[in-house]
């Protein structure tokens, strides 16, 4: 195999993995929230962008090290989520068909955040880039990959593994899955359902923030990334099965590889809508999603 072919092959693999883990993180965050409190969070893209912009401010404007800034921003999502839950989200817990109410509510949040970003960050720059967490390049055979992207990919992978372990083996994770499956039965078994609602809103947003932070570490971005990510996260959740964390995780990775592979055999333009086409086809045969129970 020639060096050129090997480089293209390895670049496809790393791109698939990189995009896949980021997509998975965001989709898992969205799914955790939807699965527990039935909130289709239309603002997930703006939350993702908020995290990216906060990291940019912390590093570029305040000179913090990107690793420290990343931890700080993910940490900041916790009080922000608690505040949002206490002031807005919990008011709908007893509303029948609250998913529609939540969708409209989060659309409103989307518009407000988009407006705020537009008159602040949008005026400061047309593009944003943070300094690398790790400088330099690693050679995988003939293929050079920036250490920064490698680090972001590994951290995202580790976070997904930790999240999977938390949901499968920790008592909170078991309680969360019980609420996902049947909240009345979970309540009868002594699960604090409202506590789980609150915790899943906080955890889901922290995961979306982590996605935004790692994305900002790996790529330059602008304000339009919010819309791209919001659509992608919803598409992954729908194909994987709304409420299925495993589905979000697997389909996120599949999406990443689909984009990378289709972009080389067809074109980046075809790749951009290939997964949306796949979504429509899959929904024709399994409308509840591939991993729905």
């Amino acid at each position: 195999m020639s060096d050129a072919t090997l480089i293209i092959l390895l670049s496809t693999l790393t791109t698939g993995l990189m995009l896949g883990v980021i997509f998975s993180l965001v989709a898992v965050g969205v799914t955790i929230i939807y699965g527990s409190i039935w909130m289709p969070n239309a603002a997930n893209g703006q939350f993702f962008l908020l995290a990216s912009l906060f990291v940019w401010s912390a590093t570029v404007s305040f000179g913090l090290h990107p690793a420290f800034a990343a931890l700080l921003v993910i940490g900041a999502s916790v009080p922000l989520s608690y505040l949002l839950e206490a002031t807005l989200v919990r008011r709908f817990y007893d509303v029948p068909n609250r998913n529609i109410s939540y969708f409209v509510l989060t659309l409103g949040i989307t518009q407000i955040l988009a407006g705020i970003f537009s008159i602040t960050y949008g005026v400061w720059s047309d593009q944003f880039q943070i300094p690398p967490i790790v400088a330099g390049v690693t050679m995988i055979g003939p293929f050079p990959i920036a250490n920064n992207r490698l680090a972001a990919m590994l951290i995202a992978g580790a976070l997904l593994a930790a999240l999977f372990a938390l949901l499968r083996y920790h008592k909170y994770g078991r309680a969360l899955r019980a609420v996902f499956q049947n909240r009345d039965a979970a309540a009868l078994r002594g699960v604090d359902v409202r506590g789980i609602y609150r915790m899943s809103f906080v955890l889901g947003n922290a995961v979306v923030f982590a996605g935004g932070v790692l994305f900002a570490c790996a790529y330059s971005f602008d304000l339009t990334v919010a819309w791209t990510m919001a659509i992608t996260a919803f598409a992954i959740m729908i194909i994987g099965g709304p409420g299925s964390v495993l589905g979000a995780l697997v389909i996120g990775i599949v999406f990443g590889f689909t984009q990378a592979i289709v972009s080389i055999f067809a074109s980046p333009t075809v790749a951009a809508f290939s997964y949306l086409g796949a979504m429509l086809v899959i929904l024709l045969f399994k409308p509840s999603g591939l991993f729905a129970r």
């Binding site: 994305f215 339009t224 990378a260």
Partner: protein, 394 residues
């Protein structure tokens, strides 16, 4: 002595009368509809920052006041037209100006041409803004297809028979640049391989960077949109493309700063740059004042908006009636033969409202916290219709 005294008194009286007459007249209003929010907010805000510097010297005593009424179009064509209509009907502006996005500019173009309102476009490069038959629109920025033409001229001069890789985002502006480049390349003996188009919203270009490297081009023309432009550049550099091989058709301050030190040696096109060796004294002052006010150096966007205000002032100075009569204002714009006060580049418009076009190619020398240094390596100018620009991009 008595005669000198009476001459001085007469002169003072004339000046006072002129000033009084100017002060007594209503100010001339120009509607400045630009992008202060939405995806293009950075460009609109930068444009207004340039305009504000011009405004500080635009109304000396004795001259009729020129006033810019700035309205946000939210980067939405429909909003731009609504604002244009409001300024035309309610505020009775003498002319419209302001857009920095081709989409909003095209929307305003339709309104301006249909309603016979002079329209001075500072920064919007889509060719059709000066298509044949245009009467009321005048554009300062060269059209984007011409930028592609200029890149090929530059490459062919550096290395006859060169091969370039062309990677760009699927936006109207980028497609127009690519169209000019692809038209001129075979005529100048330049080969394009590969040509890769990225859809809007792209994030990653690693695979395509590998394809570019495998093609082993002499230069890579990189035309990404927003943050993706920088990702694209970084991923090309990551995979082993040398900075000296990269040509960006345009470079504004934030772009060049984000490309960073690793892009030292790469090239970008521009129409004004703080590092140009032949800036006029006013141009140097403009750079200093802009830097002091905005903590960054200006690029061509800010310069064009600064110059736009001066152009409008000159038209009204040349014919005071142009401040009250749109046809006279239009005629004044069409007859204008002046120079950019910042760089001495001539300004005159052809029958379609397009300027004789030009482009500088700069090579990045250093990027620091405060800004960047670059040197001019090439300059070219051309007639806008040296290529069939209005046929290439519809």
């Amino acid at each position: 002595m008595t005669r000198h005294m009476s001459t001085a008194v007469l002169a003072a009286a004339l000046v006072a009368a002129a000033a009084g007459s100017a002060a007594g007249q209503e100010s001339v209003k120009v509607g400045f509809v630009t992008e202060l929010t939405g995806p293009w907010a950075f460009f609109g805000s930068s444009c207004v920052a340039g305009l504000k510097l011009a405004e500080s010297t635009l109304n000396p005593a004795g001259k009729r006041k020129l006033e810019f009424v700035t309205i946000d179009n939210q980067t939405q064509p429909a909003q731009a037209v609504a604002a244009a209509r409001n300024l035309d009907v309610q505020s009775k502006v003498i002319a419209l100006s302001g857009p920095t996005s081709s989409d909003t500019a095209l929307a305003m173009y339709g309104y301006a041409e249909q309603n016979k309102v002079p329209f001075v476009v500072p920064v919007a490069a889509f060719p059709q803004l000066t298509k044949p038959g245009t009467r009321y629109t005048f554009r300062l920025e060269p059209n984007a297809a011409g930028w592609g033409y200029a890149i090929v001229q530059f490459v062919a001069k550096q290395k006859p028979g060169a091969k370039i890789a062309l990677v760009y985002s699927d936006y109207a502006l980028m497609r127009a640049i690519a169209a000019g480049l692809k038209y001129q390349a075979p005529k100048s003996g330049v080969k394009i391989e590969p040509e890769i188009i990225f859809p809007q919203g792209s994030n990653d270009a690693t695979v395509q960077a590998a394809q570019v490297r495998a093609a082993n081009p002499d230069w890579v023309v990189v035309i990404g949109a927003g943050g993706f432009d920088n990702t694209l550049t970084n991923q090309l550099l990551d995979i082993g493309i040398k900075a000296e091989q990269i040509i960006h058709p345009f470079g504004i301050t934030t772009q060049v700063k984000n490309w960073g030190k690793r892009s030292v040696g790469s090239l970008y096109g521009t129409f004004f740059d703080a590092n140009l060796p032949e800036l006029t004294a006013e141009g140097k002052k403009f750079v200093e004042d802009f830097r002091a006010a905005n903590k960054r150096q200006p690029s061509y966007v800010e310069n064009y908006c600064y110059v736009t205000a001066q152009v409008i002032r000159r038209v009204i100075d040349a014919d005071p009636g142009a401040g009250d009569d749109r046809e006279k204002f239009r005629a004044g714009m069409a007859a204008l033969n002046t120079k950019e006060s910042t760089s001495n580049i001539p300004i005159a418009f052809d029958k379609n409202g397009a300027r004789k076009e030009y482009m500088y190619f700069m090579q990045i020398q250093d990027v620091t916290e405060d800004g960047y240094k670059s040197k001019q390596v090439y300059y070219t100018e051309w007639d806008p219709e040296v290529i069939p620009v209005y046929e290439l991009v519809k």
